[in-house]
Subunit: 338 residues, 4 copies
């Protein structure tokens, strides 16, 4: 079998490392190019865990050179940087999966408002497909540019869409209480995430002001056709990886737990990475280092309570990107991800 | 100064250890009695951290003997066990601070429903004072039996009561998303709290069914005079100590953040253990090993979001018990707790 | 390709879970049998992370039935229990990889002394091959019973043998300071490994009396032909997985760091899972969830200091067992382990 | 009682925070001055846990102004910085306890070699007293400048000196395997101590090259009168606070465990912060947030193995400084430290 040749652009962050780890064991893909704007040390100095596992040099970014060596580019770049690199890669004929937020927010004014950066690639923005395969698989199949969802939005949308779409929950009064392990904050050191500050600490941040909130609202509105409004409150958990979201939804008139469970079963029947938990509740531990999203719905007088667990580095980033890549190349979406 | 002589009844759990730690440095109290139903090993075998710090033997429970040696008994017992021991201690003339739930729930039927145990000490139940000094200091002053609040309820009530009492939040649609370190689960080993199961794990449990929910509702109703109804969802954090509660309240008509901040300032002016945070948010780290409750209120379109952090072993248990003891004996409530 | 059919015997511990995880993605093996002495719940109740990933029932142990369904049995049992099950499996024609200590200690009296159990399967003991592929690959190829090394011994032998064998270090004065994550203590809950006891705690245990000491001595003596004597001191690290051993060896006359580095390079050239670190030091983090053993040697006046890191659940258990299985079936030893 | 007025110089690090915490509850000392070279934010912005607990402004360093307000200065500064500030404070008549290494190494050439800084305060260096009260209490009593020991050296010396001094262990072949929680690395963020890098990681560093090695050798030589040589290998533990050192000593001819235990009992009889453990082993958990050093000695054929646990921030820094301060001012050394 001819393998998909994969370029990774932006090699120094955690999502890059996680993508490399998964691709090293992917039976139908191989990493052929590591690009970074500045020449860097060998990848095994950046990431000592890769010693002896990947011998590619890190090369300055050059879209045409990449196009010769690769079929697809995975962009592990921060926002704004992706915007600089995606157009030339697409023009050179590569398929692109972008990990950043640059092609997620469809309204360029909304993007500018939340990311303080002007969007200057409106054509690609228009045709970019939001890479949540459980809802957009058909569009991903034929996409050349897939915008990989944010980690929080992945869990939020998966946990919320079935109930809202089925008319079982009110779309305009949703509360998402989210918590994430610290790898979600990226690899750049800071006082806030210095080990002795973060260890044995749990706290909320960015109450109502996190950039993932508009992404979640836009996606839920797109999926459900309803005007979704929500309050998103993230927290930091003193651990490496994992997101748990506890979602509070107001039941529509007459909605009950049976209907809710059916809505989830209908939405995710045959979706290989969604696991509906009935006899126990999702835990970040059960999905760590996997591409699964575990979901449970409960009902308690005034609310549906949905809990969703994913690994923020896998289903929330690298795993989902590979799932998208698999779909874009006509492969089984689970390939290399079990 | 003559010191308060303190008996600790029920010596083998984490709240007992924490109480001992604080009392060892209390300038106006000394531990004179350690009681347990079964004769035990020296306290320093139960708790190696106490080696050389406390040389008292652990003695079988005997209310009269305790009354000779002590002025007050702190009951570090599980529910139902407190009910067996408190009456004789009170009859022998001791003041009692009970850590269990046995004298918290005022309605014996409610107690029976949630704790599967019949209440057989209705007289003492009627006169027991709920030991949340920020709201019940006057009653605590003259109480002989103080029922020390649960850890979750302490944070929940402190974070909720001012807004509801001031009419700024709807009393019947409150969501409390709580998270606790694992010491809150007690000292008995279990599969669930075995280190490799709990480490690097975050999850919800007992959604809507935790025993602390009725305690919170009862207390808030008592304080505010309104019929409070709430949804309480606890989570486990992979760390030792600390509770963070993120409370979602629906604003009453016209309520704004300024009024909310004033309500908190009014409620807690002069309360030495309440710290209102305005420029940052509460973290379990900032209150660890202290008796402080840190509170912040934020407003975001559809909800007030209050976050409250306490140390579950201190303000949520041992520290609050000593605060109550100080008040019962006419001392400054902060004595030994700074 | 016809896949190796694998039976897992003893399904409820961490090594079983880890073995299943790796086999689920092994391209040339599939799990066909889960055996346990007592009928159990579905494997996904025992291990919620396996929900939807493995639908095999857990079946009572029956060697003949296993032989019909499987080519090899991996015994994830505690010591003594393996001794009960291995003989019938071997007799039924299965190859066996035993995770326990039952076939590791070649001298049955030594086994009885350290494990308080009489060895009653001396024939199989005699022919069992110690499954450390870096030293015994040839014997493993033709073995029907492979005794998978202990976690501590794997790291200890890999870090020590090259220097002793090359005559660069004195064989009779070796100090092994080891530290392990808590999964190494197994899945049965205990006071000692209850989360709040173990978290934020670091301590030594079993100084000089750990059962892995004689296993290390025996193996080093077998490899080097010298009478090895050592002091082994294990510690517990508050984390899930990973072993780091810091080994202090007395240099033989004239031995220097260059010779030591060459000894390691010679010993492990072409060994796919050994990584010699020269510019940095091994960390448990760099080998977590991999089958690698990272090794560095340093020299400081009076001692060689070798540090070795492995994942105790992978190279220290499940990964090494699969590596052995691969070799026993003539496959590339890295298959399914990258 | 007139309280000791304490100035803290260098307010932004962890040792400063820890010192403040302990002094806030010290019955005979009060913090009257916070000095820092650059004007800073309020202390409660630097350390949110201090909100409402300490209202002193942070003031630029001015030795004369400090002398008016304080009796003693605690210097929580990095090395080289202490050297800049101590002389003027001493000249202004203050007693000084210096947390840095600047006055620990008695040989200025040795200091220059290990700290890459020329010592320019030789007079004060000569009269500085090494602040390990268990061995130098008399000298501390009359000292005006006390050099507070390093965290690793505190544990190392306490665990080693009795055996070497009593002639029970060879002075020139000591191996100290040390491990520390991450607060020991200070408060400045770095890639190395970024939470996701450090969490679930255990590793050695600075093998044989750590700056605390010469400090330990110098102190042991001073105490025992013997030429001590040792190999010191530190490790990082993924937790906040705590040091455990596992010390390997070669027994002198005829030395046995009984003599070793007596040597420890003799050395530390009446020392309030030393706890000799016989029935269990020291753990960082048992000494966390205390000023205790827990010590156990075991014997295993070729070595004495001594394990020592301290809290690196307390007995290894702030607590020991206050213990020294107490002694310098003629108070009970345990005051404020129980």
């Amino acid at each position: 079998m001819k393998k998909i040749r994969v370029a990774i652009v932006g090699a120094s962050g955690y999502t890059s490392l996680e993508t490399i780890r998964w691709l090293l064991r992917h039976p139908a893909a191989s990493i052929t190019y590591l690009a970074s704007r500045k020449p860097e040390r060998p990848i095994s100095e950046l990431f000592p865990e890769l010693l002896g596992r990947l011998d590619l040099p890190i090369t300055p970014f050059d879209a045409k050179a990449i196009a010769k060596e690769a079929d697809v580019a995975l962009l592990c770049l921060p926002h704004a940087a992706a915007l600089e690199h995606a157009p030339s890669l697409l023009q050179a004929g590569l398929k692109v999966v972008d990990f950043s937020a640059d092609y997620r927010i469809k309204d360029p004014k909304m993007y500018e408002k939340w990311y303080q950066h002007t969007h200057n690639d409106l054509n690609n923005l228009a045709q970019a497909v939001y890479g949540l395969p459980e809802f957009f698989e058909q569009a991903i199949k034929s996409a050349t540019l897939v915008s990989n969802p944010g980690c929080y939005p992945t869990a939020a949308v998966l946990g919320t869409a079935p109930l809202v779409k089925a008319g079982l929950a009110e779309p305009a009064d949703i509360i998402i209480n989210a918590a994430s392990g610290i790898s979600g904050a990226g690899r750049t050191p800071s006082q806030q995430h210095h080990f002795p500050e973060r260890n044995e600490a749990f706290e909320a941040y960015a109450i109502g002001t996190h950039r993932h909130a508009p992404e979640i609202e836009q996606t839920l509105t797109a999926i459900t056709g309803k005007d979704v409004q929500l309050l998103f409150v993230p927290h930091l958990i003193p651990m490496d990886r994992g997101i748990l979201e506890t979602i509070y939804l107001k039941p529509a008139k007459g909605a009950d737990i049976k209907a809710a469970e059916e809505a989830f079963a209908n939405a995710y029947g045959g979706k290989p990475f969604i696991r509906l938990r009935t006899s126990d509740l999702p835990s970040t531990k059960y999905v760590a280092n996997t591409n699964y999203a575990d979901i449970a719905v409960r009902f308690y007088s005034t609310r549906f309570v949905v809990t969703v667990a994913i690994d923020n580095m896998v289903k929330g980033a690298a795993g989902q990107a590979i799932q998208n890549m698999n779909i874009m190349f006509g492969l089984d979406q689970t390939l290399g991800l079990i």
